[in-house]
């Protein structure tokens, strides 16, 4: 299947496709990933806070039933494979966006699939906060909300940033997968040319671009996380 990969006419055709399709594909992938991640964080962050603060010994203990429901919902959503979840949320996409096809419509399943993941990542970041520091805040008369907003979240910013980086690269991968069933972007280009039309060079280039995007997101995220960590500025 790769015998004519670098033949003259293949290269010319590929260049044409790259020029016509790739700029839009890159743009779609980037903006879908960023918007889906932002919404997933907006939903996942408060849920992650509740997972930690709402525990029996947390700063804002919630009824046991509430915590159980929260945990079950998160685990349920996390156990459905992404491709299947996408199809399952078609009705929701239609309700919110008006269609199930296209770049914007794919944001809905991306968010549904990733916010529970983000909630778990936030949970693990917040659990790293030294409990003695929370006790200190309590001893100074901090309310539960003040402890969450002024201690737990600010103290775990470096860890949150590295976890959000994991989230954005995972969501980038999901967005490529969404190309299989109507989503746009580099994933769609790779699948429709590589899988449906046997243009492997196009697929290869799309995949290389996806790899480069992951690299960029990862190194920017890592740099931000390190830079934000004031514990590392010691002697």
């Amino acid at each position: 299947m790769f015998d004519k990969l670098f033949a003259q006419e293949t290269i010319e055709e590929t260049l044409r496709i790259v020029q016509n399709e790739f700029p839009l594909g890159i743009w779609e992938t980037v903006y879908v990933t960023i918007i889906a991640t932002a919404i997933a964080i907006a939903i996942g962050l408060p849920l992650g806070v509740l997972l930690v603060a709402g525990e029996k010994n947390g700063v804002l203990p919630l009824p046991k039933g509430v915590m159980q429901v929260l945990n079950v919902v998160i685990n349920l959503l996390r156990s459905v494979p992404f491709l299947i979840l996408m199809i399952m949320v078609f009705p929701l996409s239609r309700l919110i966006v008006g269609t199930t096809v296209g770049t914007v419509a794919s944001i809905v399943p991306l968010v549904i699939a990733s916010f529970p993941f983000v909630a778990r990542l936030v949970e693990s970041s917040l659990r790293e906060v030294n409990p003695n520091i929370i006790e200190m805040a309590q001893s100074m008369g901090a309310s539960p909300l003040q402890i969450i907003m002024k201690v737990m979240i600010p103290e775990s910013v470096p860890s949150l940033l590295s976890n959000f980086t994991i989230a954005i690269t995972t969501i980038l991968g999901y967005s490529a997968m969404s190309g299989a069933i109507g989503g746009g972007g580099l994933g769609k280009i790779a699948i429709s040319y590589g899988y449906n039309r046997y243009k492997y060079l196009v697929m290869l280039l799309a995949v290389i671009l996806l790899v480069i995007l992951v690299q960029i997101f990862q190194s920017v995220g890592t740099r931000l996380a390190v830079k934000s960590d004031k514990r590392l500025k010691g002697r």
């Binding site: 006790e135 008369g141 002024k150 514990r231 590392l232 500025k233 010691g234 002697r235």
Partner: protein, 336 residues
């Protein structure tokens, strides 16, 4: 004034109920530096956490100026916690905030405006001797400096009481000494009562006026530090005053008169004290037990001397030793 009345605390663990505190009664007067000492597991940390209701006592009350703080609603309790602040063994600074912002933290909680909080924080940095560290992060400071920032933070809301939970246990002797000096200075200058929880007798003897000895959840002895030093009655107190088991030596030296010498910052390290007493006063003293440390050129700790002789000799020896500044001398009579 803080009154602790019949305070008990039980914890439910997998192995059953653990009684951490059993009917503790204590009164701490305003302006005191009060020590609560005990071995690990004696219930000290639980006791200090009951004073600001971080732990809810199973039974009993804590009265601050007559007010039962255990009966306060949560909002009222949060308010009173601004008046009973705390410093910790691990400093517990917010690592992602500058020192200045750390000191502003309790003021932010109390709703003080940013400008006022900053002004107050700068004053406090001055008080704790670190005015140049405003924009440094805790990770850039030494342990002693971090504890100074923690003290500044604890003072931000003008508390009446400062609780020190093993505040010097993570520090070396020299730094411990300078932190204790700072606490004493704050106590004198600002009139803040201080409660010091520690397992180190040296901390109590250096700074506290009164002390309670906690053993297995009970107060087994309470009184002036000098009294407890000169005549510890309970087993736990003896163990703390003679950490190396000097009391066992004592049992065997009958017929001898015993004098306790307590150094609280005396410039004694350069003076061969015992040798000089022998030469100048012709009194031979044997050292039965000693636990002293020199910090800088000052001595802290205590020494137990045995003297063979009559009343007059013992009196002369005590007068001689008393003539040295910052040395306390007592005859030990009701020991054993």
């Amino acid at each position: 004034m803080i009154e602790i009345r019949n305070l008990s605390k039980e914890f439910q663990t997998a192995d059953g109920t653990v009684e951490a505190l059993k009917g503790v009664n204590l009164t701490i007067q305003d302006g005191d530096i009060y020590g609560i000492i005990g071995m690990s597991g004696a219930g000290k940390s639980t006791l200090v956490r009951c004073i600001n209701m971080l732990e809810r006592p199973t039974e009993g009350q804590v009265l601050i100026d007559g007010e039962d703080i255990g009966a306060l609603p949560m909002a009222g309790l949060r308010k009173i916690r601004r008046e009973i602040t705390m410093i910790f063994q691990g400093f517990n600074l917010l690592m992602q905030r500058t020192c200045l912002k750390n000191i502003c933290f309790p003021l932010e909680l109390a709703g003080v405006s940013k400008a006022d909080a900053k002004k107050r924080a700068m004053e406090l940095l001055e008080i704790v001797g670190l005015p140049d560290k405003a924009n440094a992060y805790p990770a850039q400071l030494s342990g002693g400096q971090q504890q100074r920032i923690a003290i500044a933070r604890a003072l931000a809301t003008d508390p009446k009481v400062l609780l020190c939970d093993e505040a010097t246990s993570a520090l070396d002797p020299k730094t411990t000494h300078s932190i204790l000096e700072l606490i004493r200075d704050i106590n004198r200058r600002l009139g803040i009562s201080v409660i010091i929880i520690t397992h180190q007798m040296s901390v109590v003897e250096e700074i506290c006026s009164r002390v309670a000895i906690l053993d297995e959840g009970r107060v087994v002895e309470e009184g002036l530090v000098s009294e407890i030093f000169s005549s510890p009655k309970s087993k736990a107190a003896k163990r703390l005053v003679f950490p190396e088991g000097a009391d066992e030596i004592l049992l065997e030296t009958k017929g001898e008169r015993r004098i306790r010498v307590v150094f609280s910052g005396a410039v004694a390290s350069r003076e061969p004290l015992i040798a000089k007493m022998a030469m100048e006063e012709q009194i031979a003293a044997s050292i039965l037990g000693a636990s002293t440390r020199s910090i800088g050129d000052k001595a802290y700790g205590n020494m137990l001397l045995g003297i063979n002789g009559d009343d007059a000799t013992v009196r002369r020896a005590m007068e001689y030793l008393r003539s040295i500044p910052d040395v306390l001398v007592e005859e030990v009579t009701d020991h054993v």
